[in-house]
C-alpha cells in the first residue's frame, strides 16, 4: 500500500476497477455505506426542521468577512517565524533604548557592551557624561574608565585623538539651611493600662496617683515604660536607641533635647 493507491481508494470511495476482488476497496466501500442511512431527527432538531427559528436580534445573520488586507500577515507565518519576528522587534527596542541610554545601569552596561562588540558604534554607559545622570547625584554619576580624562601637561593629546570636553563646572552647593534644633515636644506617653509612666504635668489636671505595679501585657510593650535607669546610667545620660528607653521622656527632654530622636 502506497500513498497513491491509498489516495485513489479514498477518493473513489473504494469503487476501484478491481471491484469486490480488492479487499481494501471493499472495506472502504463498506465504510462509505455506513453513511447511506439518513437518521431520524429527534427532540429540538425536529422542531427546528419543522418550524425554523427566529435569529436573535443581537446575532448578525451574515458574518463579517475578514478582508484579505486586514488579515494579519503575522497570523499566516509559522510559529518559528513569529517567534523570530517577536525577538527581532524586542532586540530593536532594546538597542534603541541602549542607544538613548535610558536603561537601568547594569542593563545599560550589559546591552551596551554586547552591542559595542557586535556593531561599530559606541553606546553610552551609565558612567559616561553624556549619559543621563540622575537628578539626585550632584557628582555626575560614576566616573569610570569610559569618562574622558583631561590629559595632563606631560601627556599631550595626539592629533587624532578626540579632545576631551572640559568637565562642567560643578554647581555651587545650595545653601544648607541652618539646622537649629527645634525644641522637642516631649512625647505623650500612651495612656493605657499597661503604661504607668506619668506624663508631663498638665495644667488643671490633678497629679497622677501613685502608679501600681506594672502589668506586662503581651504585644503592648512598645509603649515607653517607666523603669528604673539601669545601673551606671543616670538621668540625663543618652538613652538607648530602642523605644524601651530606660529614661523617662520628660527627663530626656530636659537633659538632652536631641536624645529622644532616633539616631541617624
Amino acid at each position: 500500500m502506497d500513498d497513491d493507491r491509498a489516495e485513489r481508494l479514498l477518493s473513489r470511495r473504494g469503487r476501484t476497477s478491481a471491484g469486490a476482488h480488492d479487499p481494501a476497496g471493499a472495506f472502504v466501500a463498506a465504510v462509505a455505506d455506513l453513511g447511506c442511512a439518513e437518521p431520524v431527527p429527534t427532540g429540538a432538531l425536529a422542531a427546528l426542521l419543522a418550524d425554523g427559528f427566529v435569529p436573535a436580534a443581537g446575532r448578525v445573520s451574515t458574518p463579517v468577512e475578514q478582508s484579505p488586507g486586514r488579515r494579519s500577515w503575522l497570523a499566516d507565518l509559522p510559529l518559528r517565524a513569529r517567534v523570530l519576528a517577536a525577538s527581532g522587534v524586542a532586540l530593536i527596542g532594546l538597542a534603541t533604548a541602549a542607544t538613548a541610554g535610558v536603561l537601568p545601569g547594569p542593563v545599560q552596561e550589559g546591552v551596551g557592551g554586547v552591542l559595542e562588540a557586535v556593531t561599530p558604534f559606541d553606546f553610552p554607559s551609565p558612567g559616561d557624561p553624556a549619559a543621563p545622570v540622575p537628578q539626585d547625584d550632584p557628582n555626575g554619576g560614576d566616573t569610570g574608565d569610559r569618562s574622558p580624562v583631561p590629559a595632563g601637561p606631560a601627556d599631550p593629546p595626539a592629533a587624532d585623538l578626540q579632545v576631551p570636553q572640559p568637565l562642567p563646572q560643578p554647581l555651587p552647593a545650595p545653601p544648607v539651611p541652618d539646622l537649629v534644633p527645634s525644641p522637642v515636644t516631649p512625647p505623650v506617653p500612651v495612656q493605657d493600662s499597661a503604661s504607668t509612666a506619668p506624663g508631663p504635668p498638665r495644667a488643671g489636671t490633678p497629679p497622677p496617683q501613685a502608679p501600681g505595679p506594672p502589668v506586662d501585657v503581651p504585644g503592648q510593650d512598645i509603649a515607653p515604660r517607666r523603669a528604673q535607669p539601669p545601673a551606671g546610667l543616670q538621668q540625663g545620660d543618652t538613652p538607648t536607641l530602642s523605644g524601651r528607653s530606660a529614661v523617662a521622656p520628660a527627663a530626656v527632654t530636659a537633659a538632652d533635647p536631641g536624645a529622644g530622636r532616633p539616631a541617624g
Binding site: A6, G14, P39
Partner: protein, 184 residues
Amino acid sequence: MTGAQGFDGVLAAARLGQAWALSALFRSYAGSVAGYVRARSPAETDDLVSEIFTSVFTSLDRFSGSEPDFRGWLFTIAQRRVVDDLRRRSRRVETTPYTPEDDDRQVASAEQDSLDRLGGQWVRGVLDRLVPDQREVLLLRILGDLTVNQVAELLGKSPGAVKALQRRGLAAAEKIVRAEGVPL
C-alpha cells in the same frame, strides 16, 4: 450541495432560521454524519446526530466559508461531540429498557435491516481493530469527505502524518479483510 439556491443561498437562508434551508442542510449532510457517529459510537445515533445538527444550526452565524469549509466545520463539531459522548459513556454505564412503542426508527424492510446490520457490524469490527488514529483518519476521509489538510487541522497533526495514518490503516484493513473475507 446542488440545487437552484446553491450552497451560499441555502446557508444564508439557514442563518435566518428558515426551515426549508435547515432541512436542506440536514438532508445533505446527516447521512455522512450519522455514518461517522455509527462507526464511532453506535448507541443512540439519532439522538447524537440531532444534538450535533442542533448545535450547528444554532451557531451558523459563527461560520463563514465555502461548502468544503462547512463540511470541515460540521465534522469538527461532530468529532468533538462523539468524543464527549464516549467519555460520558465510559464514566457511567446506563441501560434503558427497550420499548417498541417508543421506537420511531424507520427501516425499509426486515431483510434490508438485517443486511445493513450485518454489513455495519462487519465494518465496525474491522474498524475496531485498527489503531484509533488510523480509524479516525479513515472515517473522516471516507465519511466526512475531508481533504488530508482538513483532517490534519482537525486532529492537530501534520498532513504527512495523516497520509501515513491512512496508508497504514488501509493496509491493516486490507490484511484483515484478506484473512477473514468479506461477509456479503
